[in-house]
Amino acid sequence: MSDTPLVCSVASGQKPKKLYAVGAEFDGPKALYAAAEKVRDRGYRGWDCYTPYYIHGLDKAMGLRKSFVGLFTFAGGFSGIVGGFLLITITSVYIYPIDTQGKPFFSLPGFVPILDLLLIMPSAIMSIVGMVVLSGLPRLHHPLWDWDAFTRATHDKFFIVIEASDPRFDEKASVGLLEEIGGTNLTFIGDEE
């Protein structure tokens, strides 16, 4: 590894070799909320707020679009009900029809409960798959985890991180912006090369 550390505070004047992002710490949801709106208004895209719990309305303050998890749910449910219909119909009408008290082999009302359950199961699985995939999980490592202060992102601190991959990212301007909106403990976070 190189001689410069992966994470160094802006004040120290050092900088990691390969910059991943610049992060700032905020004290509470209110400060973060106001700050997020300002970052959004500057037109950044590759940035994120990190909070210990869901903050109502923060996605709007950040200008995020509605989550696409619903599409996954629909895809799961749709394929589940179609697949289930085929499974039940093919087996109980063609492959192994069972004559029970003269009831018709194709009896949709009798299929409904299992169709319903075969709708539920894949849509639940796909909702979770959608959430995991769209959130960029699972991950065994992330550059932010090298930042010691960041362990408090699940506890009591709030962070805004602007990534270096953002087209509008500019070291000085972005650091200046984070400072201007009230961020403290400004830090450069490096990525492993």
Partner: protein
Amino acid sequence: MSYFTPSTRPSPPRYDLLEKVEEAEIEHARKQLAREPYVTQGRDAVWVGDHIASVVENPAPLWWYIAVSVAGGVASLTGICILYLITTGVGVWGENKSANWAWDITNFVFWIGIGHAGTMIAAILYLTRQKWSSGINRAAEAMTIFAVMCAGVFPAVHVGRVWFAWFMAPIPNANGIWPNFRSPLLWDVFAVNTYLAVSIMFWYVGLIPDAAAMRDRIKNKILKYFYAVICLGWRGSARQWANYEFCYLMLAGIATLLVITTCTVVSSDFSTSVIPGWHGTIFIPYFGVGAIYGGFCMLVILLVPIRQLYKLQDLVTERHIDMCCRFTLLMGLFVTYIYGMEFFIAYYGGNINERAHFYNRVFGPYFRTWQLMMIFNCVIPQLFWSRRVRRSPWLAFVVVLFPSVGMWLERFVIIVSSVHRDFLPSSWGMFYPTWIDVLTFTGTLGIFFLMYLIFIRFLPVIAIAEVRSVLPEANPHELPEVVEAGGSHE
């Protein structure tokens, strides 16, 4: 001469006094209208996290070891009994030709029912924006999972030759025979498995942010790895939270549909047959409310000691217990109505078999269970009309023990008193439980409490992130200062 005397002159109205009275009235009204906080004593997000995590972080108290040993010992009874049953045959239970379903299905419906209250709290109350439920939904969902696991034991082993249980799977069996998808018993297989799987998924998704919080704070290396793996690398970014909340919403909707489906399917096991006492369309709501009734009782039984032992009174407040008691009362009233309605329909429907069955319920050989059921389920929960009873957790604890037993008796009444006398008096018989019946059921209580004890030891018993997000500080856009500062949003 003037008759006007100073004494009759009206004194000027004392506006100052009036104002004071009004102020006091307004103050009083405000106090009455004010919502009770979800977390009492003004605890903040940091305290919430520290306090819930401390249950896991602190060394296990002595009572926990004792409780685990006792529960583990009792749980082993089920294992031993099932082993005996498999090696000997289902004849070790008290079932016979007229009463071919008895304690096994009673226990199954009892445990499945307990699960329903957990889903009710975690999904239906979430969808209806009952934010207080965030304080108890983790505990309730855990109850669901463990109860459904206990429920699954009985249908799995009651088939007799357990090694053929795979015939229930939707695959062609060894003779190329497919299961009958129109059979309620197969619906049941699907319902129970789906219910267990989706409950675990729903519970697990709720756990992800909390597991991340535990990963970041716990000192123990092994547990740190454990939490790091189960949280999937959660970072709590706003984009993740947006997806997470949407996923949770979807799962809540799915779970709501599922809980209704499950109680419908379980009731169809009975109502699609032609046996008097079972053959009724009322069975679907009957099983639904009965399930939620028993489940809320079990939840109070779990929560009251836990909040006391781990000092969680500010998170699982008296209001939570109060709400559970109100649900208990409401469901108790529904159940009472349905008991009455069953008798009315038996009388009004004019079917002599149905009438004979309900006569048999009250005056037949199992009249004691029916009487106890009526007292436990319909009479004793009326104590919950009193606010004082609902607000004293330990008193509520004692009261809910009765409907808990009562709901088990209800399933016994439905099942055994219906089947032990069928249409032909020559085939009438009686069911008496054997020791194996009793010990198998007792053992599932042990399994349930054992799993619950392990759960409260290693996972946060209250959803940290969810409780934090219902605190006032998680709603910054409702606070006036921010509106002034930001100003650009609705």
